[in-house]
């Protein structure tokens, strides 16, 4: 099976869908001729023409607002916000418009729209190229929020997102574009060509939204992770020897609570890890749900390892980022209790 980087897999998903469905259109800043600053749309304009893949003015509210109108018309826009950090001007269009259109019109209008955004840190991007705003989307009724962790899933999830009848926020951990990153920033990068999840099937396939996957079976403890943190969790497990079960959530909303419950009931311990800031982060929701559904199976309190509640710093990035050492300490503490 061909191996691809995650950005190639994402491009492949859009290519497959643009080929299958004339209603799929792709646009955003630098997305057309140049093919996106991360090359996610490279070649699509040449292949499908300027009216289906094009550059936009630098106006995120305009990008998403226009896409809402197009989706209501019957198109399936898959738009790119250059960095998730730039999405705030579009937030009103996402929250008040895209997410509510089906509801407030009683189904007369709908909004089958995908908003792709590179997310997360690890690229020396400072506070404006490193944020993880997923909780700002999971808090909104009417949205679905997806965070893939590898090329194979990224393609299948993006295809499922484009085919979905409702708006989907598709957060792409940018540090994973070229290889699985485990938080050891001082070590050589492993490319996807050397990783089995870099194997991306050709053609059309969908990875259903709302289904998590167990990345590592384990008996001692459950780690809930998504995106880059899946690999940080793996590294922490390897380095501490804790026999943890690692669940890659893949879709944050709708959440696969069944898979989480089954695992925590088995292990009796749960550690939640994410890059985003701690307070009111998605980990808070996960923690509450685990407590509500698995309380009598828990042997220790649910713990979180997250980014600190500061703006994402530039020079102190690796003190901020919840790397394998920090995750590993919490795994051990949880086991010692």
């Amino acid at each position: 099976m061909p191996r691809k980087t995650m950005i190639e897999a994402i491009r492949d998903a859009m290519d497959v869908m643009m080929d299958r469905d004339d209603n799929v259109v792709v646009f955003g800043e630098d997305v057309g001729f140049f093919g996106g600053v991360f090359r996610g749309t490279q070649g699509l304009q040449a292949k499908y023409g300027k009216s289906r893949c094009f550059d936009t003015p630098i106006n995120e509210s305009g990008i998403v607002g226009a896409a809402v109108g197009m989706a209501a018309y019957g198109l399936r826009p898959c738009v790119e916000i250059q960095f998730a950090d730039y999405m705030y001007p579009a937030y009103d269009q996402i929250v008040s418009e895209a997410a509510r259109l089906r509801y407030r019109s009683s189904g007369q209008f709908s909004c089958p729209l995908v908003v792709r955004m590179p997310t997360g840190g690890g690229i020396s991007g400072g506070q404006t190229h490193s944020q993880s705003p997923e909780a700002l989307f999971t808090h909104v009724s009417g949205l679905k929020t997806v965070v893939p962790s590898n090329p194979s899933d990224a393609k299948g999830l993006l295809i499922a997102a484009i085919e979905d009848p409702d708006p989907v926020i598709f957060l792409e951990p940018k540090r994973l574009y070229n290889g699985p990153f485990d938080g050891h920033h001082d070590r050589p990068i492993t490319p996807w060509s050397k990783h089995e999840l870099g194997e991306v099937p050709d053609g059309h396939y969908a990875v259903p939204l709302g289904k998590a996957i167990v990345r590592r079976q384990g008996a001692a403890l459950t780690v809930l992770a998504y995106g880059t943190m899946v690999y940080v969790g793996m590294a922490a497990v390897t380095e501490t020897g804790v026999d943890a079960e690692i669940i890659d959530l893949r879709t944050l909303l709708p959440l696969d609570l069944e898979t989480i419950e089954a695992s925590v009931r088995k292990t009796g311990r749960c550690v939640i890890i994410h890059e985003a800031t701690r307070t009111s982060g998605f980990g808070a929701e996960l923690s509450a749900l685990v407590q509500e559904t698995c309380f009598y199976h828990l042997e220790t309190p649910v713990r979180r390892v997250t980014g600190w509640d500061t703006p994402y710093p530039y020079a102190q990035e690796w003190d901020y980022f919840p790397g394998p050492a920090r995750v590993g300490r919490t795994l051990l503490e949880t086991m010692e209790q």
Partner: protein, 410 residues
């Protein structure tokens, strides 16, 4: 030491506040028929003056004058008069219903009836409006059921929107009326996107965006103009300048710009200003702009100069922020009376027939109201189901919402 004195902040004020004598001397009103009518493919650079004048057709004597007149037959004008009369009567009944507690909230159109009623007649089936809350004439002139609108206002068991939206935030896909958000300006850019989609699909449909003078200050107004300009979207960009944004006079949003229409010029978008209380002028300008869109010539910006005679909504009292008699001083008159007088002047109408029509319209509206009220009002009778509260959040209900619906006991 510096040569410069201390800086001061400029905060614009309306000409008059409550207690003062209304003054609209700053609204320059050109003679009817005095503004040229360019070809729809005219170079935008050559018609910049249209953004600073006011296109008018009906003069003080009730005659239709000049190049923007003569587009509508007597029958079409009589139909237009009837639409405006229905809207005015509908408003009066619903305001009363609000005072009777049958709904919590209402927004009337008094003085602005011509804008939405006349504009609608420039559209074709399949075109889509992205309206604000003061364009119910778009529905009425499309022949939409008054009863459906009332059931929405009453949030009763027949409310097409199942009780999810505040009164007057209608939605009708079949009558080209996009679901009203209630947020300001967000839908201006959506109209541009909808129009772009029509162009992408090589269809023939066009979109119409709507915004008030106050909301032009929103960033999404700028987003819409830059996208419309860049992609030459087949969209008509409407600004209804009714002088007041709740209590804020239009000068706060307009700032140092000469007119709201002039905002279009920097984007290379042809921009026209029109007498919003002149049914014939509104229709002619709307038709001109729609024609440009249909011929793939791109967007047009239209500023309707009008006056909000009533309160912003049932939740504010205008006498707290503007002179009570200001509407009497408004120099562009009343749209219903002006069209009525025109029809009488040309021999197509009479005072007697008008009185008779008023009675008929009232009867039509009351009949619809009784039928709507038989299905309930806000606090009595049939209500939308609580179970429906959980539907349509997504196409398919996800597990967490199913669980919450169970918790709610419905």
């Amino acid at each position: 030491m510096t040569d410069y004195g201390p800086l001061t902040l400029h905060v614009p004020e309306p000409a008059v506040r409550p207690g003062g004598t209304p003054d609209f001397s700053s609204v320059g009103v050109p003679r009817a028929g005095s503004v040229a009518r360019p070809e729809v493919n005219a170079d935008p650079e050559s018609i910049r003056d249209l953004a600073y004048s006011i296109i008018r057709v009906l003069n003080r004597d009730g005659k239709a004058i000049g190049p923007w007149g003569g587009l509508l037959s007597d029958e079409e004008l009589l139909e237009g008069l009837r639409h405006m009369m229905i809207l005015r009567t509908f408003d009066a009944r619903m305001l009363m219903a609000q005072r009777q507690g049958k709904t919590s909230f209402y927004m009337q159109h008094m003085g602005e009836e011509a804008v939405s009623c006349a504009f609608r007649k420039a559209l074709l089936p399949g075109d889509m409006n992205f309206p604000t809350y003061r364009q119910a004439g778009l529905l009425i002139a499309a022949g939409h059921s008054l009863g459906h609108m009332m059931c929405q206002i009453y949030s009763n068991e027949r409310d097409p929107l199942k009780g999810r939206q505040m009164p007057v935030l209608y939605s009708s896909k079949e009558d080209g009326f996009f679901s009203l958000s209630g947020n300001l300006a967000t839908q201006y850019i959506q109209a541009v996107g909808w129009a772009m989609a029509s162009a992408i699909k090589h269809d023939t449909k066009i979109a119409a965006a709507w915004i008030g003078d106050g909301a032009t200050a929103e960033s999404d107004f700028h987003a819409a103009l830059v996208f419309a300009s860049t992609y030459r979207a087949p969209v008509v960009l409407n600004i209804v300048n009714n002088q007041w944004a709740i209590s804020t006079f239009q000068g706060i949003a307009r700032g140092g710009s000469g007119t709201f229409a002039a905002r279009g010029l920097g984007f290379g978008i042809p921009a026209l200003r029109v007498d919003g209380n002149d049914y014939l002028a509104v229709h002619a300008v709307a038709k001109w702009a729609a024609e440009r869109a249909r011929r793939n010539l791109g967007p047009t910006l239209i500023e309707y100069v009008t006056y909000r005679v009533g309160a912003h909504s049932t939740s504010d009292d205008p006498s707290a922020y503007r002179p009570k008699t200001e509407s009497d001083a408004w120099p562009l008159g009343d749209p219903v009376i002006r069209l009525k007088n025109h029809l009488i002047t040309i021999g197509a109408w009479s005072d007697e027939r008008h009185k008779q029509a008023e009675a008929e319209v009232l009867d039509t509206v009351i009949t619809a109201q009784k039928e709507a009220e038989s299905h309930g009002t806000l606090h009595s009778g049939g209500k939308p189901s609580v179970r429906d509260m959980f539907e349509d959040v997504y196409a398919e209900m996800p597990p967490h919402l199913r669980w919450q619906r169970q918790q709610a006991g419905v």
